[in-house]
Each structure stands twice: as structure tokens, then as C-alpha cells.
């Protein structure tokens, strides 16, 4: 239905997207990015549940999220 793309190297790990995702489709990644933060990660296997509401992108302070629908 819809999906998001998180630029892991831009993510600073504030996890606002995880807090505000109404479907809880974003988790903390196991691996760190180039600057050492553990970025947010989209659950690809639950892509069919994403409605493309853009709430995660709206709250991302680092504009690391792109939304596709």
C-alpha cells in the first residue's frame, strides 16, 4: 500500500518516528550508522499495513524519511 525509506546515515536516533507511528511499523536498528547512532528502521515485512500518513516524516527533525504511496 505504502512504504517509507529512512536514510540511515542521516538518522540521529531521536526515535520521534517510532513514538508517533500510529501502526508501530518502525523499530530501532541493530546496527549503527556511520556516525554511531542506532537509526530507526522500517519493518519491510509489514509494508502492507503502512497507510502513508506521513506522520513520521512530519516529525523527523533531520528530514531522513521519504514516503511513497
Amino acid at each position: 500500500m505504502a512504504y517509507i525509506k529512512i536514510d540511515a546515515d542521516r538518522c540521529k536516533g531521536c526515535y520521534f518516528c517510532i513514538k508517533f507511528c500510529p501502526k508501530q511499523l518502525i523499530i530501532v536498528s541493530d546496527t549503527h550508522n556511520k556516525v554511531g547512532y542506532f537509526p530507526a528502521q522500517f519493518l519491510q515485512e509489514k509494508e502492507d499495513q503502512c497507510t502513508g500518513c506521513k506522520t513520521c516524516a512530519l516529525m523527523c527533525p533531520d528530514t531522513a524519511i521519504e514516503v511513497f504511496k
Binding site: K19, T55, L58, P61, E66, F68
Partner: protein, 250 residues
Amino acid sequence: MEKIFTRTPTLTSSETHFCPGCTHGIAHRILAEAIDELGIADRTIGIPGVGCCVFLYYYIAIDTLEAPHGRAPACATGMKRAQPDKIIFNYQGDGDMAAIGTSEIIHAANRGENITVIFINNSVYGMTGGQMAPTTLLGQQTTTSPYGRNFQTEGYPIKMAEMLATLEGVAYSARVSLHKPKNVMQAKKAIIKAFEMQINQMGFSMVEILSTCNTNWRVSPIEALDVIENEMIPYFPLGVFKERTGKDFL
């Protein structure tokens, strides 16, 4: 699949220097989106003050002028009078605007200068290490008020949006917040409204944005959002304090 949300063209691809979870990044993004939606990027000049907002020229692809501490409204006055067809905005923090630049902002507002002011209120001096600002809440611990701000010695937090709304030259004065998606959308609308006031030559417009400084508040980014909701908004109520509908002042 079509891309429905991406970086707006006026926002550059530079990575910001802000701390993780600082809502300054959201403020920059909605400001760039507002400029793009109004289609004024080619004739907008930004004047960031001194503080964390100082690197605005790296992140927003418009012309900028760097003002000395607190003097951004004075620079904006000169810029607007020299080039009245340009859209001029200030982007200042609370240490810059409410402390060292109080004189400039009050007189620019009282003269009704046709400029827009974006005022970031995070209740501390962010860049210099979390010292007490005029907007620091009562009881809030900072590096220069380690026992909490006491009204008997340090006075009360200053409410800039309400104070400027009392001045005749002000066309628009509002306070918004960035702690929830709904508030972010309202903040963007308020910024667009403030720019429209300037485009329509209504007078001085100002948007106060409640922002987080989780590093100097010594909380996590998510807890900082709750601090805005539970501690800042009760003292700094959100809303529009003045909105001029016609040129009744002439």
C-alpha cells in the same frame, strides 16, 4: 508507487549540526516548506540571529545576512527599507531576541516594520551551554540557576508573543509548538500566515515556536516533548494573540 513526501527544494541536503531530537530541524523544514509553498524563495532574505540558529544559511537555500547578537530586527529594518520588494524574515532564539535584543525587537515591532520574525523559545541558552534565559521557567535548573529559577532574584519568564501583541504596529502574533504532529502542522500554517501578512504589507508579524533543548534540559528527546506539554505550555499558552484583518491602522 509515487513519492508523496520528500525534502522540499529550498531545504539543502546538508546534515544539520543540531543535537539528536532537537526540534530546530523541524522548524527549519516547515520554514523551507512555507517559503516553497508561497513561491517566494527567489526573493526571500533570511536574517538568523546568534545561537543554534546561526547556521541557517547552510540549511535553507536563500540569501542570508548574519546579524550581531540581538541586532537582527535592526538589520531587517534596513534591509526591508532598502529593498521593499524582498521578503525579509528574522530567525532568532530566546537568548538572542528576549535578552540582548529586547530593545531592537520591541522598537521594530512598535514601528510596524513590515518584516516577519520567527522566534524559537526553548527556555535556555542552547548553544553556549544551557545558561538561564529570560524565558527560563520558574524552578527550572540551568547551569546558572542550579537551585532553580527564583522569581525573587531572577524575575519571571518573559512572554514575548503576548507582550508584542500589545503594540500597535504588530499585525500578527502567535505562539505555536512542535511537540506533536498536529502542532507541527499548526506551526507551518502560522508561518505561512506571518509571511502572507508581510506580502500584503500589513505590518510586523511574529511567530513564537516552543522548541525542545533536550541536551540542556538533561532529558531524552522523547521526554523533552513531554516537558513542552506539561511544563512549558501551561505557562506559555498556545494561540494567536493578534491578527489584523484589514489595514485599519492607516
